[in-house]
Amino acid sequence: MFIISSKFTRQIFLMKLHLKFDFNAICRKVLDEKLLEHNIKHKIIGFGEVKLLEKLSADRLESFSNDLKEYSIEIVENQKSILVQKIKDTITDMVFNNETATNLKASAYLSDTLGHSYGYLSNLFSEVTYTSIENFIIIQKIEYTKQLIINENLNLTEIAFKLNYSSVAHLSTQFKNTTGITPSAFQRIITKRRELN
């Protein structure tokens, strides 16, 4: 402990301080503080790796990421995940907005839009998402069907036409195969559930 009398104060100001840094410890500390500030349950695993113990919404992640930029800390996103996200976005857009696109054209459309061969995209997709592109398209179509049944009150014939299914039976079978229940049971359950709330 130093006791600085006024006589020496001036001298102290002129002194040079030599500092030693432990960068690892500094980064950990900054990260820890920022994570706490954002109320993110976490565990710092090692240098450059943080395990999140809760799900983060995109908004929270973004605000956290922005805060870190102040310290020149950047969240590195995996290039593969980015491409997979683009595949998903393209498919979702295709199913929800471009109603004339069919399954058949999906492969060509994806490779054209994203500039990679379909084989490459397809392998990458399966590797990262635990499902295939074909399956993902079906899931999205069934999701859209659910929305149309519930929110727009369309019947299955109208939906099959809108989503370019060859027949109502085909859509109905695909719905049952994907969800395990029939479209009408789905509608009944959701309606009753809403009445309950």
Binding site: K55, E77, T129, Y130, T131, I139, Q147, G180, I189, I190
Partner: protein, 148 residues
């Protein structure tokens, strides 16, 4: 920015069922962390504790002593803090009435317990994969119904 494993909880009073369940998950490609509870009281105590980690999917046996799967389902659906948990009913019953009732009460998945291990693995893999799609793609969870 995905977690690299999926948190699973099973509440089931049958020891064999719990064992098969854990073994099945061990053999899946997707990495999971499985926790089990012997009845609904233990389960709810855990979920209501402050430091609990919520599961991505909660599997509920319907018939359990002390607190049944249905009672757990009711309690969970009443509390908003559990809204991100997908609920799977895991039961020996396949009565249409049970199935529809639990769906209406807010369950997302209904699984009739398979009789053999191979089918169990297949079924659980499907559940986890589809749930993963909902979880990672921001699909509307209110419309998430799956019967296997």
């Amino acid at each position: 920015m995905h977690e690299d494993y999926i948190n699973i909880i099973l509440a089931d009073d049958d020891e064999d069922d719990r064992l098969f369940f854990c073994d099945a998950f061990d053999e899946l490609k997707i990495t999971t962390r499985v926790k089990t509870f012997n009845d609904g009281v233990y389960l709810m105590d855990y979920l209501n504790a402050e430091d609990s980690v919520f599961p991505n999917i909660l599997f509920l046996d319907l018939n359990m002593p002390r607190k049944s799967g249905l009672e757990c389902l009711k309690e969970i659906k009443k509390n908003d803090k559990f809204k991100d948990i997908a609920i799977a009913i895991y039961s020996t019953s396949a009565s249409e009435e049970d199935i529809e009732k639990t769906f209406i009460m807010g369950a997302n998945i209904y699984i009739k317990k398979p009789n053999d291990f191979k089918t169990l693995k297949k079924v659980l893999e499907e559940v986890v994969t589809i749930n993963w799609q909902y979880y990672t793609n921001g699909l509307n969870k209110d419309n998430f119904l799956l019967r296997l």
